[in-house]
Subunit: 368 residues, 2 copies
Amino acid sequence: MTGGRRSSPAGDRPPVGCDRLSRGENLYNHGITPSTVRSALSSIHDVARAAGVSVATVSRSFTSPDAVAEATRARVLAVAQELRYAPNRAARGLITGRTGNVGLIVPDLGNPYFHGVLQGAQARARLADYAVFVADGQESAAEEEALIDAMRKQVDGIVLGSSRLAPVRLAALDHSPTVVLVNRRVAGRPSVVVDSADGMRQAVSHLAQLGHRRCAYVSGPRRSWSDRQRRRGLRAAAAAHEIEVVALGPVPPQFESGLRIAEAVVRSEATAVLAYNDLVAVGILRRLAELRIAVPEELSVIGFDDIPLAAMVRPALTTVALPTLRAGEAAVEILLDGLSAAGPRRPAARTLPATLIRRATTAAPRAT
Amino acid sequence: MTGGRRSSPAGDRPPVGCDRLSRGENLYNHGITPSTVRSALSSIHDVARAAGVSVATVSRSFTSPDAVAEATRARVLAVAQELRYAPNRAARGLITGRTGNVGLIVPDLGNPYFHGVLQGAQARARLADYAVFVADGQESAAEEEALIDAMRKQVDGIVLGSSRLAPVRLAALDHSPTVVLVNRRVAGRPSVVVDSADGMRQAVSHLAQLGHRRCAYVSGPRRSWSDRQRRRGLRAAAAAHEIEVVALGPVPPQFESGLRIAEAVVRSEATAVLAYNDLVAVGILRRLAELRIAVPEELSVIGFDDIPLAAMVRPALTTVALPTLRAGEAAVEILLDGLSAAGPRRPAARTLPATLIRRATTAAPRAT
DNA sequence: ATGAAAGCGCTAACAT
DNA sequence: ATGTTAGCGCTTTCAT
């Protein structure tokens, strides 16, 4: 593409942009062809010089195309492409106050739940030509705050997934840049949450219809907002369906927790168990199999999240699907919206629906 | 017009931090204390003024502490903390040529293999106080190149995981910033690869010892460097152990592929199957269970990667562990090393060992 | 429609 | 040891 077409009036100009290169790059570039050497390090000045216009015109050609004459713009753009020039976003940000970046901070990059959020956020950001920083808070509130501070000036907004920060700290956060919460709700902050209380309702109702009367719930981290939502949903639904609840846990939201808690589930004499998340549910499933307890015949199991794993185990896990990908997208969308919005407005608070996915780990309880 | 901002040419600038805030942020900040409101947007000038020193001294207090008097530095740092000042890295980068960022590009953020790489890269980068951009190439070479271009000026280096680029394109890539390859080897480029050929050797040798004489291999993407390594390792090891090989595939490296290929594996009459990766292996496992074919009694199965999933399924998957986390770490390490190194030197090429993890999907073939 | 020049926040000479 | 100043690459008045 680079070599062939020379339709522009700039075609006969000498190959420019090499003066920058001589700074030392070419120490590396021994046997490399000219087309390779043509560096991406050209600046707006190189383009201006090569196109025979001022830097202002080059800048305008990129940022407000209508402000420059058709022919000029075409020439500038052609030269720019030839030189592989693209505006330096950091420099641009210095003056515009916009970085073109967003940050994503999650408590644990190892948790599949956040992979969906990351994927969604990244995809949505890319659509708007935004780049995303990602960082792992290591389940620590302090680290999370440190990361926010580190990112602050480099981004136009931060998506905070399942923040481990206390509500007060969350509320006290700076408003620049904007922080969008995922899986948390705090007054005055934009957020996107999943209606997991309703998901719980669906799960319990499903169990009730199957005839279960006594269910166990293995709860997640005590300070987790999601867990509180689920417990709330559980209380309400259980009452409505006259189901007895055995509370187990709390446990860390991991596979190993499931392994460990499984026997307690059995001892509880519940005919069904709801786990804080799929990871725990799959752990339970695994241990149950070792214990030779048939699922779903002897015990029904329901998870939360619908991570890919849920469909891969055997029997396939019935679970409450939480749209993590969409949550990531939505968070970035809110961020971007807020940036383009003229004035301040009340913070967006999106709620995404949860959906029960019936697979193979739920059935009627064994007749007693 | 927003009058306040860039008014006075004569230096007497208004307290920036505050006028920024008044743009509307504090509409949200009702009952919040002054110390909270004090924005993080203060610049080096604010600190200099408040500490009664020049901006140069403030700068030095951060970048070369020894160059300023003990007492002065203490005062500056105190004021800085009070003002919640931290140097703007974009501005710093403009002059130093260092951004303090690295980029990570992978073909598919949904693939668990890359989650390890991401985690490792992020952790290692954070250790050096670097931030990481992450992007999803969507299994497309073109998108990958576009992402590289988009990142180029914002990072000091790029980690390219399992690049889908053709070798020529890879070789033709700019050397600024440095690109470190993961799971690819190309002349003149730093890289970290996992010795999966040796991993394959271990797997085949294990199978041979168990008594298998006929094995199937379900290969991954044709253009995948890893797949070529594995086939190479397989050929050699199979020859050495006098094992007959049935080649199946290629298939996309996903769970569903395993589901689909399982029957072909059975028809192949191999007594063991090696899958391109764990995802495919687990898919095979799943379908085999439906087919009521006992694993490992009737068929042994081995995967590659050792993603968390491998230990969670039942029976637990025997697999060749590839140190993805370490690969991510190593890649960033190489990047950082290269940045601090004085002159150019021959590109680092790290090879990480693969390890066979024997779990429950391999056993001696059924006596015939 | 275009150009000259100021300046975003910072660091690195070059003074003092 | 500290201050002054010249930019880094860019956008944006303000002139022309």
